[in-house]
């Protein structure tokens, strides 16, 4: 197996069907994996905030759930994928600390998940599986060829959804 393509925080990348793509240590951020069911073209976005319109500094589209999902879909379409054939798997959106003082950030993980779901629904992209919420970090690996979304967490068995 060749090395996995790495997606950073507030970042997104495409993944050809014969490769794998990963993002490490998702906390309240959400990892959105998309694949075209026919061409098996894949892609992964690591989004950290729910709403690009709520913030003035929003030049990095990959940072937000709404613009991040839209950009990933656009880039996949640019290499021949079709929106109508895309399916999604999502992971992350944890609440890492019990309290978080900044009111704008309360339950940001949960809101990230909701925002990603809303955007996918808008595009008519079904969510096949998810591993979201709770209070721990996740590393994810996505393999477009099989659609396997592998989730690793500290002290927990590896899970494939």
């Amino acid at each position: 197996m060749s090395e996995l393509i790495k997606v950073g925080m507030a970042d997104l990348k495409l993944c050809p069907k014969d490769q794998g793509i990963t993002t490490l240590g998702l906390g309240s951020c959400v990892g959105v994996a998309l694949v075209d069911k026919i061409t098996r073209q894949g892609g992964l976005a690591h989004v950290m905030l729910p709403d690009s319109t709520a913030i003035r500094n929003n030049t990095n589209v990959a940072k937000f759930a709404d613009t991040g999902v839209a950009e990933l879909v656009r880039q996949m379409e640019a290499v021949g994928a079709k929106r109508s054939r895309m399916v999604a798997k999502i992971a992350g959106g944890a609440q890492m600390f019990a309290f978080q003082n900044n009111s704008a950030l309360v339950k940001v993980g949960e809101r990230n998940v909701q925002a990603v779901k809303a955007k996918l629904r808008e595009f008519g992209i079904p969510i096949l599986a998810e591993d979201t919420g709770l209070n721990f970090g996740r590393t994810v690996e996505f393999f477009p060829a099989t659609g396997d979304y592998v989730i690793k967490a500290v002290g927990k068995p590896v899970k494939t959804i």
Partner: protein
């Protein structure tokens, strides 16, 4: 007053931050030394402004297991402060604090070790914030600490989200303490946007 933006901070601001980091971490080392009744040396801290994409690699990889201690900051400035400690360093400190009562090498932290870690975080961040408060003459109050042990990337997503509200970079102060062993810790102070202005004004960096 121009709105503060981390994406174009200048060298002067960096120097000021390094100095705060220096004094703050120095105080923290002194407190640690008192608490452990040993000598604790400190290296000159590194101040780094990281792109979100690089955040994961900053602490020996996004999957490096860390203890993250998180406190809300209130008073004249608002925001939060986080102190991160490598898991190994956390184990060393806890077992020292508990006078060998800890079970030593084992996975994770039990309840007593967890509360010892919170205390360590409290003392270290308290010393750091005290210096900042003295330098700026601003009143800074910290909340009760909260602790999470997880992957660095996941813990860092919390301050990253706060930084994400104002820019695309995260500001971090790395501090190494040396006891018998090297202890690596990281401070991340996240003031909200109006507080940045207040801090810089109080430090004389900004008019």
């Amino acid at each position: 007053m121009a709105e503060f933006n981390l994406d174009n901070v200048d060298n002067m601001y960096f120097d000021v931050l390094r100095e705060i980091g220096n004094i703050g971490a120095g105080n923290a080392a002194t407190s640690l030394a008192k608490m452990l009744s040993t000598k604790v040396d400190m290296k000159v801290p590194r101040v780094e402004l990281l792109d979100f994409k690089e955040v994961g690699d900053a602490m020996g990889g996004a999957e490096q297991i860390m203890a993250g201690i998180y406190l809300a900051v209130d008073g004249d400035i608002h925001g939060s402060i986080m102190f991160l400690l490598e898991e190994k360093s956390a184990h060393v400190l806890v077992s020292k604090l508990m006078g060998g009562m800890s079970m030593g090498e084992h996975e994770g932290f039990d309840e007593m070790e967890t509360s010892a870690l919170k205390e360590i975080g409290n003392i270290i961040t308290g010393a750091y914030l005290n210096s900042l408060s003295e330098l700026t003459k601003l009143t800074i109050v910290e909340s009760i600490p909260d602790l999470t042990i997880d992957m660095a990337g996941a813990i860092l997503s919390v301050p990253a989200v706060e930084f994400g509200m104002v820019g695309d970079k995260l500001l971090m102060i790395q501090t190494s303490f040396t006891d018998d062993v090297d202890l690596n810790g990281y401070f991340i102070l996240v003031p909200d946007v109006p507080s940045y202005g207040k801090l810089l004004k109080a430090l004389g960096v900004m008019q």
